[in-house]
């Protein structure tokens, strides 16, 4: 098992000076993930918060090879890089023992929505790459529009809470399960507040031969509307309420990595976040019950899958 001291002594491949918000979960996640291999990494980054905040010309926050081409195609861009690597190794232009890891990164907009087709295609084709979705439940880079990852009841700028409609009326897409259904070697759901779990998952993802997908909950103070210092506490509440269970699917086998000692009611997760504030009005409280019911059903289902 890796020790924190070892991780801390590793060189950062994403360095400070970037423009990500105070309290943003993304750099915390990336610093852990990028330490999970010592091999060189080539990154294809979808358009989004991480991309714009780390690559403002003439500066770069990246001390590893990094590329951005567009919003919806991080998976197909990295697939191209990986295909070229295979070709050049086969043709003897790159030595066989030169190992390179291929990493695609996108937010939930670039992954659940506009980049979903490219991700599904690259996974089906079996490219040897890791895809990390930093899921902050919203199009944060463009100012907080709803995505397929925005939870039921959340207020977003394109699913605003109003006097007639109390926020987003649809459940989030369960992308982790969808990626597991691709039958790829490794799929996991993680959260930065349990950094060791995230590290282990990233390590496995890098090590498997073939596609791996990591979906990482990413607290966003700006759009979730909480105090910047509270991000990890909020992520913890997502795990303790089972809103965001931590689990992995390794070669089809489900394993839940974290069982809360006491499963908290979803209200504990909703309360500290401004995006759910409207749910506490008398006329909207029914929705909290709906959310609880939905979370309970999903948690039950996940436990059944883990027992198979």
């Amino acid at each position: 098992m890796v020790r924190l001291r070892e991780l801390a002594s590793m060189e950062d491949r994403l360095v400070s000076g970037h423009g990500l918000c105070l309290g943003c979960g993304i750099p915390v996640i990336m610093k852990v993930v990028l330490r999970a291999t010592t091999d060189p990494i080539v990154i294809a980054n979808a358009t989004g918060c991480l991309e714009v905040c780390t690559s403002r010309f003439p500066w770069t926050s990246w001390r590893t090879t990094w590329m951005h081409s567009a919003f919806e195609n991080a998976a197909s861009t990295i697939a191209g890089v990986e295909a070229m690597y295979k070709a050049l190794v086969r043709k003897g232009k790159i030595p066989k023992d030169k190992k390179i890891k291929f990493l695609a990164i996108g937010g939930d907009g670039g992954t659940y929505d506009i980049g979903f087709q490219a991700l599904s295609g690259a996974a089906e084709r079996g490219h040897d790459f890791v895809y990390i979705c930093y899921d902050n439940n919203v199009y944060a880079n463009t100012g907080g529009q709803r995505s397929a990852a925005t939870p039921l009841g959340a207020s977003a700028t394109t699913s605003p809470a109003g006097s007639k409609i109390p926020g987003k009326m649809q459940k989030r897409k369960d992308l982790t399960q969808i990626m597991a259904a691709h039958g790829i070697p490794y799929v996991a759901q993680a959260s930065p507040h349990r950094w060791m779990d995230l590290y282990n998952k990233a390590k496995k993802a890098f090590e498997v031969d073939g596609p791996a997908f990591l979906n990482v909950l990413t607290p966003c103070p700006l759009e979730w509307k909480y105090d910047e210092s509270q991000g990890m506490r909020i992520a913890n509440l997502a795990a303790d309420t089972c809103v965001w269970p931590l689990y992995e699917v390794e070669n089809g086998k489900y394993k839940i990595n974290y069982f809360p000692k006491e499963k908290l009611p979803v209200i504990k997760w909703l309360e500290p976040q401004g995006r759910f504030r409207h749910l506490f009005k008398e006329e909207n409280k029914w929705l909290i019950d709906e959310i609880q019911k939905s979370v309970d059903e999903d948690w039950e289902r996940l436990q059944r899958l883990a027992k198979l």
Partner: protein, 393 residues
């Protein structure tokens, strides 16, 4: 050994791909370019080439794979048509903006709606400002020759700009033609080894590709990107000449057919040139001073050269196989007329749109155009500068 064979346009491109053996081929099937992709897949399956062949789930991803692969540091090609090229549109600009020397075979096909699988130039005309070099081919031989030259042009250090080589859907892609395939080794030698520039896979020297520019740098970068296509004419010419020396078929920006003492001429691109040449021969036999110019390179547009050739004529008809809705004529016409603006002596110039969705164009239609040109030449008057050929009223 070179050999005379009977191939269609798609097979000719597949042959060139086999000979060049690119590092990565990423392509999605679409009529009428599908058989290029299928043939390459068979070559890979049979071990005739050791390219990494990727079958992405869309053309958007196909171009994205090409971009990732080219940035990684190797030779990349693809093929598509019509809606496929349209779906790639966003990525075409990025390929050119990142100065990645990708070569694409585009089998020209009409754009929807209505859906139509036959040849016209709407697809590539829609990509004319994407930053790609565009080379149009009359027949399978030219498609093959242009495709081979395209790698040299795209990869030239002064150019480093993607190239699309186009030919007409079905008319060329699916019609058998007797043509010459050059010797494998001679083609390989002509194309040469690929030398990557700032490859991603050189991980010892990490780089950041595709960063974000704000108002402080974007303008300069966009203008810098133009250098490649601005340097392209010299390289296109050199490569065309060298190809001629090596294989006996020399290429320039356009072909002049019986233009020496011509007074009127048609300007067009691609397969219709074959029929037009027949008509020119017939009219020449009657002693008429008519000629034809077949444009090969649409981007970069050889404005000066073309205008110099046209300026000595009395009347010119530009035939476009695409429209430009709301513009002062179709794309080739607008460019040509603009090129002539600075010449004090310039011909009368008219525009016909023909062949949309694969509609036939026959010698009779060319006769009609030449009759019109003769009338304009003799009267000096243009009653209508824009019209359609073989369109039912």
């Amino acid at each position: 050994m070179s050999k005379i064979v009977t191939l269609n346009g798609n097979m000719a491109i597949a042959e060139a791909i086999r000979q060049i053996n690119p590092d990565v081929v990423a392509a999605y099937p679409i009529t009428p370019s599908t058989s290029i992709v299928e043939t390459v897949a068979q070559y890979v399956a049979d071990g005739l080439i050791d390219s990494e062949f990727v079958c992405p789930e869309s053309e958007h991803s196909a171009m994205s794979v090409c971009i990732g692969a080219a940035a990684a540091g190797g030779r990349v090609t693809t093929a598509t048509a019509s809606q496929g090229l349209a779906l790639m549109w966003e990525m075409l600009y990025i390929a050119a903006g990142l100065r990645l020397p990708i070569v694409a075979a585009i089998v020209n096909r009409a754009l929807s709606a209505p859906i139509n699988i036959h040849g016209d130039h709407s697809d590539t005309m829609g990509a004319r400002d994407s930053g790609w070099i565009q080379i149009y081919s009359e027949n399978a031989q030219e498609a093959y020759d242009n495709f081979i030259q395209a790698f040299r042009i795209a990869e030239h250090p002064d150019v480093r700009t993607p190239v699309m080589v186009t030919f007409d859907g079905f008319i060329i892609s699916h019609s058998l033609e007797t043509m010459k395939i050059e010797d494998d080794e001679a083609v390989k030698k002509f194309v040469g080894e690929y030398s990557p520039v700032y490859p991603l896979l050189d991980t010892d020297n990490p780089i950041t590709v595709g960063p974000i520019d704000f108002t402080d740098f974007y303008f300069e970068h966009k203008v810098n990107q133009l250098e490649g296509i601005e340097n392209a004419p010299k390289v296109i010419e050199e490569v065309g000449k060298e190809f001629g020396k090596r294989f006996g078929r020399e290429y320039g920006f356009f072909e002049e057919y019986r233009m020496d003492d011509a007074e009127v001429a048609i300007l067009l691109m691609s397969s219709a040139a074959g029929t037009a040449k027949e008509t020119v021969d017939e009219l020449r036999a009657q002693g008429k001073k008519v000629g034809l110019i077949k444009l090969r390179v649409f981007r970069p547009f050889p404005a000066r050269k073309l205008a110099e050739t046209l300026s000595r004529l009395k009347a010119v008809a530009v035939l476009d196989r695409a429209t430009s809705p709301g513009a002062e004529g179709a794309p080739l016409f607008v460019e040509t007329r603009s090129a002539l603006f600075d010449y004090p002596e310039r011909p009368k110039i008219i525009n016909y749109v023909y062949g949309l969705g694969g509609r036939d164009i026959t010698p009779e239609h060319f006769h009609q155009v030449y009759r019109k040109l003769e009338k304009i030449a003799s009267t000096g008057k243009v009653d209508q500068y824009y019209g359609y050929l073989n369109l039912r009223e």
